[in-house]
């Protein structure tokens, strides 16, 4: 088959670029350590969240030294707890689920962004450094009030958090 030399050059460059893109992504996954949302947590009965230890009471819980778990429910049209309060200098694993429809959980201005699918639990771990505040919004259409669905994520100074800033 007759392929012009210039097109052969481009074919090689195109393949180099494709391999380059794949390599960058693999670098991010390995060297930088970015994990994808996956199927690690078991499925859940979305009509019976109140029977689940984690979601019957959405909250942030300490599970180790500077290690926390946040159990979050996304539902029409709020996030629970609101605000979600975590301490600075911590590693927090979020578990997010929904009792009704598909939602999105996006910490605005960050890479923390996941789908929330009824029957499934989204698990994501992030590190918080300085104190501050983030907005949370739902970025998947979930019904007529979708545009009102927002929440807040507060990163408190460690001493303030210890003094009881971690209630819903």
């Amino acid at each position: 088959m007759n392929i012009h030399n210039y097109e052969k050059i481009w074919l090689v460059l195109a393949m180099v670029m494709i391999i380059g893109f794949i390599s960058t992504v693999v670098y991010g996954a390995t060297a930088v350590g970015i994990e994808m949302i996956s199927d690690e947590p078991d499925t859940i009965d979305s009509t019976a969240l109140d029977e689940d230890d984690r979601f019957s009471e959405p909250r942030v819980e300490k599970v180790g030294d500077n290690e926390y778990e946040a159990y979050v429910i996304a539902q029409q049209f709020i996030f629970r707890p609101d605000p979600i309060t975590v301490p600075a200098n911590s590693t927090v694993t979020f578990y997010v689920t929904s009792p009704d429809v598909i939602h999105g959980f996006e910490v605005v201005g960050t890479n923390a962004n996941t789908m929330v699918i009824p029957g499934e639990v989204s698990q994501l771990t992030v590190e918080f450094n300085e104190p501050g505040e983030y907005g949370i919004l739902c970025n998947e259409y979930c019904g007529g009030g979708h545009h009102t669905m927002e929440g807040k994520l507060i990163v408190q100074p460690e001493d303030e958090f210890e003094q009881g800033g971690n209630d819903e």
């Binding site: 460059l13 994990e35 890479n111 771990t125």
Partner: protein, 52 residues
């Protein structure tokens, strides 16, 4: 539609798409720079990457 505005006929063996090569190389460079910027600055430079 040749015949109307055609100044000369160019056959298969007489044609080297030099201009195309230049344009596609420019595109390649733009893509590479944009990719590096987007991945390393916008993405990796952003808060709260998911580590587990």
């Amino acid at each position: 539609m040749s015949g109307e505005n055609t100044v000369r006929e160019i056959g298969h063996d007489e044609f080297d798409p030099k201009g195309t090569l230049v344009l596609i190389l420019i595109y390649f460079v733009i893509l590479s720079i944009m990719w590096v910027f987007m991945y390393f600055v916008e993405f990796l430079g952003n808060d709260l990457s998911v580590i587990a």
